[in-house]
Symmetry: C2
Subunit: 256 residues, 2 copies
């Protein structure tokens, strides 16, 4: 984990990461306040509107990797400005598999940087409306193929409650979402998805298409817990047995 | 097949059905014009707007089943007024599995009739926006469970390009749509889906949950061909090998 928080950031969250064996050496605390976002979701939970963004300590953040991070083989470039994602990537010695996440903002204000970045990554993750914006294609399948032509070997288009589609030379993987009858808050679902995905590749130390499918399902399951409560409410309470339980359910619900 | 057309209906379509071994004894031709619908689809191909409906010979149609139809074990009550669907059903001697299709119009103007009908059927098929309207639930998973409580043993909620969800006491089946990069016209996709579904049950002469899953996939594949051209353009040209080919692809794209 590489990131920055302000002095107001609750210590208990850093402790939570430590208790889950997350290496927080790359997490800096700077004078000032933590980045904050406020938004509103529509009833369908897929569309959201930003009400306010305060960059705070994030405004001048230049991610520098601790020496121990530089040999990391599996890299997730989480959603920040593409130029910063490139800066992080340049510090990694010999990455084996690189995933970049992005969002509508960078498609609009840093399109060239984003196009440069994705030539260097193995997988781009974005949601369906972003894929449409990025390519100008209304058809999501066509949008996925167009992004593949821009450089990355794989593309994952997320569709919220409708699941996700993995695109590659090997074909497609059409992953459903885990069925939930009570979605409380989708904030952070995309981060859980991408984190669960790269986590599977790192744990298995492989990135063939079958492992990528497994990784997409794992990301889906982690995200499904996240959306059931506000903040870390549900996520901090779950264990690997519960994740395995939902993964088994996914297999049951998707097989024929 | 039970239905009515006007004198303007092209004979070649009736011959097409005959050439595919569809029994057209129940298809009547009456003096006047055939039912006609004109509509417009939004870019996402999921939302449509009716521009005009002419009932024509359909206005006074009372479906009467030929004697040879009355012992049919597998029944699809295609999308007409629920009172007419009930009238058809009352003529079947000992149905083994009954599916009813419906649409937003009947949910709005014949809600009580529809609620009565679905107590007598094994499965209701409707799309996601209709399921929301019918139950008042924004969450599709919750909507499916509410409809199950109204009587049918199974519910299928169709989500267009996002696939379909089968609900039953046995759990869920989360079926993806077949990935297409060029959708020409979704008109009739729902009928193809429901027809393909009941066709599988009739061909296999069983309706356990695994067969229902297979049937949902078959309906999905048939519908995928239909949307690739206007009218019967693609549908009349395909054969069972092409259907089997896409079914195999579906299995490949959905398995993990």
């Amino acid at each position: 984990m590489v990131g920055v928080v302000g002095e107001d950031f609750p210590k208990e969250y850093v402790e939570l990461f430590r208790s889950k064996n997350v290496d927080v050496e790359g997490l800096k605390t700077e004078a000032g306040k933590t980045f904050a976002w406020h938004g509103e979701y529509e009833l369908n939970m897929n569309n959201r509107r930003t009400l306010s963004v305060e960059l705070n300590v994030f405004e001048t953040f230049q991610p520098e990797l601790p020496a121990s991070y530089r040999s990391t083989p599996y890299v997730l470039l989480a959603n920040i400005a593409p130029s910063l994602q490139s800066h992080v990537l340049s510090q990694i010695e010999s990455p084996r598999f690189i995933i970049a996440d992005t969002m509508d903002l960078w498609i609009q204000i840093a399109n060239e940087d984003l196009r440069k970045l994705i030539k260097q990554v193995d997988m781009l993750i974005l949601n369906d409306s972003e894929a449409r914006d990025f390519t100008g294609q209304d058809n999501v399948i066509r949008a996925g193929h167009e992004i593949l032509k821009m450089g990355p070997r794989y593309v994952v288009i997320k569709k919220g409650e409708h699941g996700a589609i993995l695109f590659g030379q090997e074909g497609y993987f059409l992953a459903p979402a885990f069925p939930l009858d009570d979605v409380k808050d989708p904030t952070g679902a995309g981060d859980c998805f991408a984190g669960g995905l790269i986590g599977t590749l790192a744990a298995e130390n492989r990135h063939d298409f079958d492992t990528l499918k497994k990784a997409v399902i794992h990301g889906t399951v982690v995200a499904s817990f996240n959306v059931e409560a506000f903040s870390m409410g549900k996520l901090k309470a779950i264990n690997s047995e519960q994740i395995a339980g939902r993964t088994g359910k996914m297999r049951e619900y998707a097989s024929f």
